[in-house]
Symmetry: C2
Subunit: 177 residues, 2 copies
DNA sequence: GATATTTGATATGGTCCATAACAATTATCA
DNA sequence: TGATAATTGTTATGGACCATATCAAATATC
């Protein structure tokens, strides 16, 4: 209701001048059926970055379908494996995950017996994170899937050297932009 | 409630074996205070892509603060300017926006008098999209801000050649992955 | 030992993304 | 032609992700 009113208003305010009406008439049936021109959009960093990221995540999820791991979950398992004995706050913050949002993530991983919270004896407020044996096994399989299906795809698309250059540049952007 | 129960269960199932208890004890106070090791994470395409994208969007929003344009809104204005006379479905779909979600976006742009919906005379179901004069002016200012603040930042970080190589590779990933 | 801080957790709200459904209009084709 | 199917913009709605405020328990600070 406010929507259609806004639409009426706007289509009559700026476009209903003499010039506006002529322009609108000329546009009727403009390039119907033809593909749209992306123009400057195809060189906008943010645009191409976002689209690439969506495609990569999509591919990742397909590769991981058998293990049911999202990119975020995979990153948690990787980080916990590399840094066993750290607490939730440390793991979450280095991944850019806010502590409240990390709770449900861990609940999920723990309910699947991939990860365990252990009450710390030094600081009984905090939970130390460890991969379970199953978690280690699943992560090992996940790494193989990523290497053979996911990264291999990027290699055949860009070549080894370009792939490394791309990741290095992205890391630089992520860290120093 | 199911949460704490799951936590108890998992922390006692895989980690409370003789070996599990010893490992947990050894981990207490592991590398406290030291920075975490990213390990293989820093070479995961998806991870570095996502973090770079967040940083770039963040920077974009800062550069555009005076114009109050999000990356998505900027892309809509760019595409409508390059392809005037196309309808909502065409613009939305080439941007990867679903039609239902595009409605509110247009309501916003139209309420700010940056964009106008014009009922098509050829097909009276569809709305033709056009930039208003104000929309063209705002977009022109936005382009300048992007060029001088946003892209310039990337140039001084990577250099002109690397910047172009990065965007080309990202485009390839976005299109062919 | 009183006060402040930290940790994990809950509740909650916002934004973005996806699907189903609807009225109006147009396309299809028997 | 006229009945049926498809399309367009729209609404409603639910899920995923992200951010803030708040809390109890434990610890740190002074």
């Amino acid at each position: 209701m406010t929507v259609s009113k806004a639409a009426e208003k706007s289509s009559e305010k700026p476009a209903d001048t003499a010039k506006g009406r002529k322009d609108a008439a000329e546009l009727q049936g403009q390039g119907a059926g033809e593909a749209l021109q992306l123009g400057e959009l195809s060189e906008q960093l943010g645009y191409v970055l976002k689209r690439a990221q969506l495609k990569v995540f999509e591919n990742f999820l397909r590769c991981m379908a058998s293990l049911q791991l999202t990119p975020a979950q995979f990153s948690v398992l990787l980080l916990v494996e590399k840094n066993p004995g750290r607490n939730q706050t440390e793991i979450a913050s280095t991944l850019g995950i806010l502590r409240p949002n990390f709770v449900a993530m861990l609940d999920n991983l723990e309910s699947r017996d991939l990860c365990a919270r252990i009450r710390s004896t030094n600081d009984r407020r905090s939970h130390i994170l460890v991969l379970t044996d199953k978690g280690k096994a699943v992560l090992a399989r996940a790494k193989k899937l990523v290497a053979t299906k996911h990264e291999a795809r990027l290699n055949e698309l860009l070549g080894q050297a370009n792939r490394e250059a791309l990741i290095a540049m992205l890391a630089k952007v992520a860290n120093e932009f």
